[in-house]
Subunit: 151 residues, 4 copies
């Protein structure tokens, strides 16, 4: 019987400039934080075999819901990250942006990104290699419980 | 019989810095361009009655699909913008990011933002006033034809 | 006798996100606005002969003084731009960030950038061609009257 | 006899998006990194007595020279930071942006910021309190050896 896997967590530092004139981390900057989470996380996930990524990955889609206002502070926030769908030529990546302070279980945002494997040399999508699929299956989890997506 | 309404179009200038190390306008910056489109567009939509906005609007959700790579150029791109759902305390705003050059009908991205009316003074959602509803109904249109959203 | 030359003026649009948590255009974003001014201005100055630029220009230095707080508004600000020093392998570019509204002669910032001509192919500085020097001499003007530079 | 003081060092994380279309950390983003260094550093310098800062500090001036191209990497760069001039109503802060990897003594940039103490309540400059002056004198050092500043 499978143990529930622990989610992968990335520490992502904020910048004071992530705040906008309302004094909160700006909604667009949350996507920037998720980009940072991917860059840091993928280096750890695939670092030993960068070829899976180096040939190219395109962002095809983002979906994000904002759940609580986030203020700048020096300690990083925590982004939990897992694969929610693994297809023949891409995958969906889910995220929860969490506080990371002990005892604080605030979820600031939930999001999902559709990534497409791409061959920059030939400008065409490319098939997912078995080793990348295996790595992503190790990192897969539940669909994102979006509340606002229109039914 | 209703004539089909013409969509509202905003000219949104790019910045050279919107491009990332891949030499394309970065996917996160598209959300920044949509923020610009809202700021410019809402000033025109509601400028005569800023009270509808001044009390506060929060971004609750974004969804965006990327359809074609966009390179920096000095002439602005065009963002078409319309309301797709008008609720009791918020509305959905749809966008198409288009080229704007004569004869070029490239759509670079389609997106949708859920906006919630908010009363910053009391930190609570607020009801949509009839005049705002009327203005938005003037600006309403078809749902966004997303291709990637998981069914 | 020379007539005083009129300064070259570039309209540079602001973004709402240029404001920081203090509600003013952030001091770093002023440098971003100057980058925009260079990109727009150089296309006009050298557009007919992009070769002078295409081979590469590096920013070697910035100096900037902030004179008045700037708030976001939809109409662009105006950046006046002129060459202050023309050397064998680069030039200094001066700027004044002005309001641009009729009757408002506020100067928000004064700045100067040292640009070095660079040959990306060989990774070495390159000599200024006579036609670039001639164009810059057409655009040259007074040194920037910095107030804060330490003597 | 005084021992030479060791310079204060701040670890400042890069973001992948700090790179521009040339594939280097953009010159404007260096100023953003220095803002981060101030925010992180001042929390440590003055954290025990935030009142010295909370009342307000304005950036009056920046000067920066770029010495070597910087590429994104996950480990933070190091910003060395010290006071170079302490006046009655403000101070100058010097920086060196260094690599931080063991054995790599590359200096990517040198810079200096003039900061003015400000009373936001009354919108006027304010005098430096003796305890702030004492803290800054602890942190003071040599003038920045700028190479490009015009003589």
């Amino acid at each position: 019987m499978d143990e529930p896997r622990e989610r992968y967590r990335v520490n992502v530092p904020l910048r004071w400039s992530d705040m906008d004139a309302y004094g909160h981390v700006n909604n667009v900057q949350f996507l920037r934080l998720l980009e940072d989470a991917r860059v840091i996380g993928f280096e750890e996930w695939f670092g030993q075999d960068r070829s899976v990524l180096a040939e190219g990955i395109l962002v095809a889609r983002h979906e994000i819901e904002y759940l609580a206002p986030l203020l700048f502070r020096v300690p990083p926030i925590v982004v939990e990250m897992w694969a929610t769908k693994i297809g023949g030529a891409g995958f969906d990546l889910a995220y929860e942006v969490r506080d990371g302070h002990a005892g604080d279980d605030t979820v600031y945002a939930r999001a999902e990104t559709t990534l497409v494997l791409y061959d920059f040399a030939t400008s065409t999508p490319r098939r997912m290699a078995p080793d990348l699929r295996a790595m992503l299956e190790e990192r897969s989890g539940e669909p994102v419980p979006f509340r606002w997506r229109r039914r």
